[in-house]
């Protein structure tokens, strides 16, 4: 449809305004991450939108206890929280994707587990805060508190609905002729699934896994409740970064925030095509 020139001008103006609102908070954090301590909380006329003296000191600080600029030293660097976030998110994704993919295939092809679609949506409906008391007690009993594997287990369950629904719609969409041909050739159904279906679904599997990983990586509340010291994740660690001497460690926190924010943004852009499907439990495809 042809649009008029005034409309085009209005469109670009509106989009540019939306872009500014979108980007300013992100850019402020990026800029803060490279600011030396003197510029962290400068206000009024001294407030700088871009670091006057860009520095990597904030990153050195979170990775190496201390820098010359700061009198405080960290008793534990960001290395282990990053490791904790990575391990729990990766293995949580492995759990959710294995159980979810298998169940999705079972339902899509053999009609097993008819209760699962609804049960899993219900799981997503409830606020995690409302089921955390039993989980905290169970995790303490199983010695899973404050471990990355304990986090991975709960992440695997919490994101199972997304893994299941995404894979179910992918399997439903997949043409069955090839599977049927293989069955006629005498392949067992399990072999068809592992040797033919799964390799064919490599791209959808990768997208679903990235989607689930982003969700796991983004968690704050569960890690806040289930980890205390040894295996805190990046967001929990970041929130704990403030000291009585310097107050909020703005720059150091911004550096960590940047480290936490970059992977999901890149992955999210990579799987843009499937975001709608993932977020709407497959109700909608793009």
């Amino acid at each position: 449809m042809k649009r008029s020139v005034p409309f085009e001008i209005f469109r670009y103006a509106a989009i540019l305004a939306a872009m500014a609102v979108t980007l300013v908070p992100i850019l402020w954090m990026v800029s803060m991450a490279f600011k030396p301590i003197g510029e962290w909380s400068a206000t009024g006329a001294d407030l700088t939108w871009w670091p006057k003296h860009p520095t990597l000191a904030n990153f050195q600080f979170v990775f190496g206890h201390s820098t010359n600029d700061l009198i405080v030293a960290l008793d534990h660097t960001a290395v282990k929280p990053i490791l904790s976030s990575l391990l729990s998110a990766v293995f949580g994704t492995v759990i959710a994707m294995s159980a979810g993919t298998a169940a999705a295939y079972g339902l899509s092809r053999f009609g097993s587990g008819q209760n699962l679609p609804l049960a899993l949506i219900q799981l997503r409906l409830f606020p995690p805060m409302a089921v955390m008391i039993p989980v905290m007690i169970m995790w303490a009993f199983l010695n899973l508190n404050d471990t990355w594997w304990g986090l991975a287990l709960i992440y695997g369950i919490v994101t199972l609905p997304f893994a299941f629904w995404l894979m179910k719609t992918f399997f439903d969409d997949m043409p069955r002729e090839i599977e049927e041909a293989a069955l006629v050739e005498g392949c067992s159904r399990l072999r068809v699934f592992t040797r033919i279906t799964l390799p064919m679904m490599r791209a959808p599997l990768a997208s679903a896994a990235l989607f689930v990983f982003i969700l796991n990586w983004s968690d704050y509340l569960i890690a806040l409740l289930l980890t205390t010291r040894e295996w805190v994740t990046i967001p929990v660690y970041m929130a704990s970064l403030s000291s009585s001497m310097t107050g909020q460690l703005y720059g150091a926190k911004a550096a960590l925030g940047l480290i936490a924010a970059v992977p999901p943004v890149i992955m999210g852009i990579a799987i843009q095509r499937h975001l709608v499907r993932g977020l709407t439990f497959g109700a909608l495809k793009q």
Binding site: I15, I133, Y220
Partner: protein, 318 residues
Amino acid sequence: MSALTATILEDKMDARTKSVAPDEGARLGFRLTLPAQILVLFISAFPLLMQLYISVTDWSPLSGVGWWNAWEMWNSFANYTDLAADTRFWSALQRTAIVMLVCVPAEFLLGLALATLFADDFPGKRIFYSILLMPMMVVPAVAGYMFFMLFQSGGPVNDILSRLVGTPVTIAWLSDPNLALIAVMIADIWQWTPLMFLILLAGLVGVPEDQMKAATLLGANAWQRFTTIVLPKMKTIIIIALAIRVIENFKIFDTLYIMTGGGPGVATETISVYIYKVTTQDLIWGYVAAIALAILIVLSIVAVYAMKRMAKSREVPA
């Protein structure tokens, strides 16, 4: 007796080999769905029973007895009667509702407006689209920290306002009870408008173009086309998008807690923040279990009702 058992067993075996063995698929399907079923059971059945049990006691992790011995602290449903009279709980619930009633419609309208701008092709569409989606991919806790920095009294928001007004503005956003709630809602709208935009745009693209052209030829203006063709076609998608945001917004915690910690005082204490504080600071877990169960029950009733309504509306062809 044993002979009888044997024959019954034999019958059963027979039945199994007859009905199931040829259907290799059903057995494989059962095995494939088993891990997911176990995980669902592991996180629902047992925890719910435990929650129900603890919710009728005064048990807390500091009470010195294991949770299984919580019956020693039975308090004859006092938790539930306390809950009815707990003003902090009700005001947290009210605040959660206010946040939802402001944020979800705002996100919807902004998202819809953006989606209509993106409905047809124009130079730069793809790059604008990718950038506008970024906020929803930022870790919510990090987004909370971003807005914590932005709303400092000497921070960039006041700086922009100062430049607009011409005099220095030093609003203490996060320590004023009313402004703190607004700041928290702004952060939520910033982060989740892209989700509305994404879903609504996917729906908008699905509206058949020939119908739009026909309507144009018949003399319908843009607004008429929008209300008579686009909106009815998008009804289901709009319901889905709203439902997702309502559900997620009800759980609001990460951004809010990092920005204000529920404060100043209890000015931004939503239901999740309230439960979190009772769990970790007051440590009265018996009471928390009662609150949590009450919420779960109400949510389940709402969900069942909503699904029945949706099923009914689906029977009527759109």
